[in-house]
Symmetry: C2
Subunit: 221 residues, 2 copies
């Protein structure tokens, strides 16, 4: 097999690795929300446990990228694909940390009766998970139009987070007994907003990879 | 000038770039705290404005790294130094975003009388800034002992954040009129904790760069 052919195959494998890691992280976020809504501590603990798998995958992506960079001098486009993959892997790892944080707060919340039915928070999480999926699709397809769509969606998440926060604030003002629960819920809402921010980071990296001006400066002597 | 010599000089310049970016970010955090403590809205707005400079430096570091990667096939050690620099630049950029967030909350806080004298929050910020500086020193010196010291310091920050949060919670419980101020202060405390987390990320990257097992796998065919 030619070195070029082998290199192309390894690039394709790197794409698959990112997609597998993305699926795992999407699953972590989905399960974290299920643990919150169903008040399921065992599930929350499983999600916390599974974060280790994501960390392992992050290291594996990093190793794969460094090997690809060392293997041969990649062309400008491949070079940016590989460095973008490294950065996306870090973003995904941070999202998984936030899924873990959601579960930690969920477990604490289960010590008291549920403050209110959870409607907006799962809705917000669904939108955030959609953004994660779309940003990764944009990466593997090199689709900056889809990436830009993800950037636009972030505003809606920020609005939802604001709305949830204001509602929780009114609970706290009316009845101080709700404060610790309301604060924990506002943290969870904030974690979801940060997950969407990481998806936005991924989308920005993709726009940069596809359209960025860096490629113009890249000259091999 | 030989290609190797030029490459070494560009690596040295990359180190300087990271240090300059680090100084700017440390300054941003310091000024954000000053804006909070002195209730100085003009300063807060300057910090928010200056975040753009940090973003520009992040892009410049990225370009420099991609050019170095494209310039020649760097040896395993240089390769890891360059990819670590790219990642550190992202961490610094996120810290500057958090300095900006501190200023946004500070401006909101200035609409009401000060809730309490600020003692623990500036103390915590000093420790976080120290961690940022040490983690960058560890990077430029390739000093994993210093990097590990930074990792240990993060526990103290987490404890301080917990303590501040508990104190603010008691304010909220006793007097609902303090809730919005106390929540904003708890956000600021959380932002500082996240700045320390980013310094911890930098330190982990350095340990990985210096001691990591990745280098063992790196073979050029």
């Amino acid at each position: 097999m030619s070195i070029q052919r082998r290199f192309d195959e390894e690039l394709a494998e790197l794409k698959q690795q990112i997609l597998r890691m993305g699926s795992l992280v999407e699953g972590q976020i989905r399960q974290a929300l299920k643990a919150l809504v169903d008040r399921d501590d065992a599930l929350a603990k499983t999600v916390i446990e599974n974060d280790r798998q994501v960390n392992t995958m992050d290291v594996a992506v990093d190793e794969a990228c460094l090997e690809l960079l060392a293997l041969q001098q990649p062309a400008a486009r491949d070079l940016r694909f590989i460095t973008t993959a490294m950065k996306i892997s870090t973003e995904l790892e941070r999202m998984s940390d936030l899924a873990e944080n959601i579960c930690e707060r969920a477990i604490e919340l289960h010590e008291e009766p549920q403050l209110k039915p959870y409607i907006d928070i799962p809705l917000m999480a669904d939108r955030a998970i959609k953004m994660v999926g779309e940003s990764l699709d944009a990466f593997v397809r090199g689709d900056s139009v889809l990436a830009r769509k993800v950037l636009e969606e972030d505003d809606y998440i920020d609005e939802l987070n604001e709305q949830i926060f204001r509602e929780l604030l009114s609970f706290m003002m009316e009845n101080p007994k709700t404060i610790s629960r309301a604060i924990r819920l506002s943290f969870i809402s904030k974690y979801i907003e940060r997950i969407a921010d990481h998806a936005t980071n991924v989308a920005e990296l993709v726009v940069y990879m596809v359209e960025g001006k860096i490629i113009r400066h890249m000259t091999t002597p």
